[in-house]
């Protein structure tokens, strides 16, 4: 049983560019959440997708957007990259809400 998978593993982008990160949830899961983890900090919630809709959003600007596909996989898009967007981006999947979440290995984004 494959767990949560994310791609790519590492990414280097230039300030002002756009980036797309991808996540495939654990088999049987229908809810995907994205988190940003800055160095030395705990992960911070970006948004959550269920039934292809954004259901909940954390305190992140509109430059951060996402999508969920009919097969429950998800994308995180970040426009107009800033140096401060450099972080580890984590995807989590779960079966509905208030259930155990499982995380992928993360995508480490560096903005130069």
């Amino acid at each position: 049983d494959a767990g949560v998978t994310q791609s790519p593993t590492h990414l280097i982008k230039t300030r002002g560019q756009q980036v797309t990160l991808r996540c495939s949830p654990k088999s049987g899961h229908d809810t995907v959440s994205w988190y940003q983890q800055a160095l030395g900090q705990g992960p911070q919630f970006i948004f959550q997708y269920y039934e292809e809709e954004e259901r909940q959003r954390g305190n992140f600007p509109d430059r951060f957007s996402g999508h969920q596909f009919p097969n429950y996989s998800s994308e995180l898009n970040v426009n107009a990259l800033l140096l401060g967007d450099s972080a580890l981006y984590l995807c989590a999947s779960s079966s509905g809400f208030y259930t155990e979440a499982f995380f992928g290995q993360g995508t480490r984004l560096t903005v130069v």
Binding site: S33, P43, Y98
Partner: protein, 111 residues
Amino acid sequence: GIQVEQSPPDLILQEGANSTLRCNFSDSVNNLQWFHQNPWGQLINLFYIPSGTKQNGRLSATTVATERYSLLYISSSQTTDSGVYFCAPGDYGGSQGNLIFGKGTKLSVKP
């Protein structure tokens, strides 16, 4: 929103020692997870424990939801236990259960 405090922030142990990590949270929760983050960034599930006590090998956890805290016990620590431990309650107040993370406890186990 809910606030999460973890203590201690840093912990250095000799291999074989026992330890207790604490997580305090400021509001009612309906789910809570403990994770171990390895040096490569992977968050590994330890416990899903909204209330009560669970054990898994050398690890055990207790959540007392009415008093708004959770504890993670590590017994007979090993060098492979090193890393950052996060407590993450689910935000109960009107949200869809997204996890709120503390700053973590950084554990170093010396041989």
